[in-house]
Amino acid sequence: MKKHTYLVMGLLGFAALLTSCGNGNQGKGSSGALNSSNAEKVYVAPGEHDEFYAFMSGGYSGNLTVYGLPSGRMFKEIPVFSQFATSGYGYSEETKPMLNTSFGFVPWDDSHHPDISQTNGELDGRWIFINGNNTPRIARISLTTFETEEIIEVPNSAGNHSSSFITENTEYVVAGTRFSVPVPQADMPIKEYKGNFKGALSFISVDPEHGHMDIKFQILMPGFNYDLSHPGRGKSHGWFFFTTYNTEEANSLLEVNASQNDKDFIAAINWKKIEEYVNNGGGTKMPANYAHNVYDEHTHTATSIMRKEVLTVDPTKIPGAVFFLPTPKSPHGCDVDPSGEYIIGNGKLSADLTVHSFDKMIAAIEGKKFDGEAYGIPILKFEDVLAGTVKSGGLGPLHTEFDGEGNAYTTFFISSEVVMWKLGTWEVIDRKPTYYSVGHLMIPGGNSRKPFGKYVVAMNKITKDRYLPTGPELEHSAQLYDISGDKMELIYDFPTHGEPHYAAGIPAEILAPKSQKIYKLAENKHPYATLGAADAKVVRDGKDVHIYMSTIRSHFTPDNIEGVKVGDKVYFHITNQEQDFDVPHGFAVIGANTSELLVMPGQTKTIIWEPKQVGVWPFYCTDFCSALHQEMQGYVRVSPANSNIELSWSLGD
């Protein structure tokens, strides 16, 4: 019967495709096939704005992309963990420190789970956080400048995957480790993993004023894999839930060896209790080495400092702080409904969803109904905490989001679909195919107390034939479903950049009015800023030559520079004098072993040029800034190293 349904749906989908190619407006179908009103639903007329922002993680691009919903139009790629030649992020002298780590300069990462700051469990749109998975880091991005402002490395962590989720007043951004590792790191046989490796769950406090991050404490958990997490909300505020797998503690061929236990755990962490414990002097300070990189909007410069200590907590020392909830089949996503009552474990090797009840969990804890322990951490009885099971009929559930109207939406990777079901009754209401093999899904605010349940976006891992082919490597595909009715309706399909894992959406009306237009030149505190064209100059300091250069439509000041020699290290400090919205200037010089600079109005950026050949070398503006953009150019005369030509600079003479 089920197979039948799929076949029918597949045929309907195929029919819809055919009709949408041929005579677009007639493709009406009984189960929500494409029709003309769907085109209207996603059509944002020229000059009109989208209703929602969608921030999609870049996955292996290391960045964060900004889309509009329902149009699926991409607005920006925000560089976060990866060098970005487009703007000079990670290449400019100002931003290189952003990518500093205890491993040195790491120019790339794998970004996974963006989460927007909240107040009282509702999106407040101040910042968005995202995790770097490979070299564990958490980034904070301003939602007024849409630029990365801060990156903190997470020590004792490896595969920073159950991150970066925030508590309901943005007290903490939480980062859990996927890999357990020796803590502290040690030279030891890999086989001695079991019982010796640790999984660190880090609670990073967020300063409510400036957003600055600081690792408040790390819980050193048993050596499982901590896969995903979400905060309690409402009545469960103060708790945090992490899915685990590999409770077998296998260290090789995990595909098989970590899939042996019928149930792994959801770890329930009472972080309020642990916070109280550390505030009263609990925990152990451990030597560590991790980078904390902060970008200052006024100096337009990042600084990186190495932190040398981290406070660790042994969870067995704090009674009542941590419990394990048995959850079947290597659960992946760990999602909490808007009321805070239901904790959903998406058992990825199962057909079913396990839903735990927060109230039942508290009752079981109070009744001390334990089913043994693991490394001193009490295990609750599965039956005591179970709220219900969703018999989905799908296969491979990964992630669940909520519409705020009592419905939940779960992605099924293997059966490639989104299933809509009802909280409390656990009945399946609707199911729609995805194209293909969906990972995360996102409803704007769908993991907060107040979802905006109008659309769900499914982000897929496999694209295949969805778009015009572009060789072996394809962008990933996303589908947009209208969920404002009783059932889901597929209304749009668009490619996404990188590999979006999770995404976060927010109504445009919260962010758009406060999006910054320029940086004020008067507030530019960059030490090498050129605040007026009269301040432009060239200064030699041994082999270092500092060029204080200003740009305005459409010339550089200065644009003729002489007295530079082979072997010099030339710093171009470019300040954009414009104070007009959307008038960047670019800067590129021939043979620079680095990227260009794209300098926003009021900003100063620096690249280094090390001329290797005698000659007269040009530089130019790379951004088509005005009708006279092609005139925006200049020359640097490079003389032999032993030349005695004095430094000179000029404009227009």
């Binding site: 305005i552 414009e578 104070q579 007009d580 919205f581 009708a627």
Partner: protein, 214 residues
């Protein structure tokens, strides 16, 4: 006459609005400027509608060789206009007070109105002269030189009042709150003159009636 005098005292006070609000407003919209740039012309100087509008207008104007928008110290008008307005307010209120105590009659009210009107017209004339100079006295080395169909150089004088298309810009020039307040204030003095004149008329009539009765 008491009512007329009270109105005559209140009327000139409306001119004080010119110290708080712009006299005139010129907006410049273009395809690239969906949010138009704008200048507010106050009696004491020119200000941008948004923080960086003047700088951005100057930046654009340099292409066509226009001078930068004058700063308060660069035009005698911005020094003299506020003094003239203060002087007229003081004079108007004084006339009103004298009227209230019966020392002067409505003709003084009318006199103030006429004087203010003459000064206003002179001010507009001067403003127009400046606009003409600003728009046509161009740098001969300007980057962009546009000629009209008849071969004469295009000028960029913003309209004194109303709308005009200039290259890619739509320019709208209209009186602003300060001007409207001045208009209300001056109208009040005219009203005061009228009421003063009427009340004098009735007095004369009443007197003549009394005379007849006697």
């Amino acid at each position: 006459m008491k009512n007329a005098s009270l109105i005559m005292i209140i009327g000139p006070l409306f001119l004080l609005g010119l110290f708080a609000f712009p006299l005139w407003n010129i907006m410049l919209g273009a395809p690239q400027y969906p949010e138009p740039l704008g200048m507010n012309i106050h009696i004491s100087g020119i200000e941008g509608v948004s923080e960086f509008d003047l700088q951005n207008i100057d930046g654009l104007n340099h292409y066509i060789g226009m001078k930068t928008i004058p700063k308060p110290g660069e035009m005698w008008e911005f020094d003299v206009f506020p003094k003239v307005i203060i002087g007229m307010v003081v004079l108007g209120v004084l006339i009103g007070l004298l009227g209230f105590f019966g020392k002067v009659d409505f003709k003084w009210f009318l006199g103030w109105f006429v004087l203010m009107s003459v000064l206003g017209v002179l001010g507009m004339y001067d403003f127009n002269e400046w606009l003409t100079d600003y728009g046509s006295n161009l740098d001969p080395h300007a980057i962009i030189k546009v000629v009209n169909e008849d071969g004469t150089p295009m000028t960029y004088k913003p309209p004194l009042l109303g709308f005009q298309k200039m290259l890619n810009f739509d320019v709208t020039s209209l009186p602003s709150i300060g001007a409207y307040m001045m208009f209300i204030g001056m109208s009040l003095t005219l009203l005061a003159s009228y009421i003063g004149w009427k009340s004098k008329g009735t007095k004369v009539k009443q007197q003549s009636k009394k005379a007849v009765a006697a």
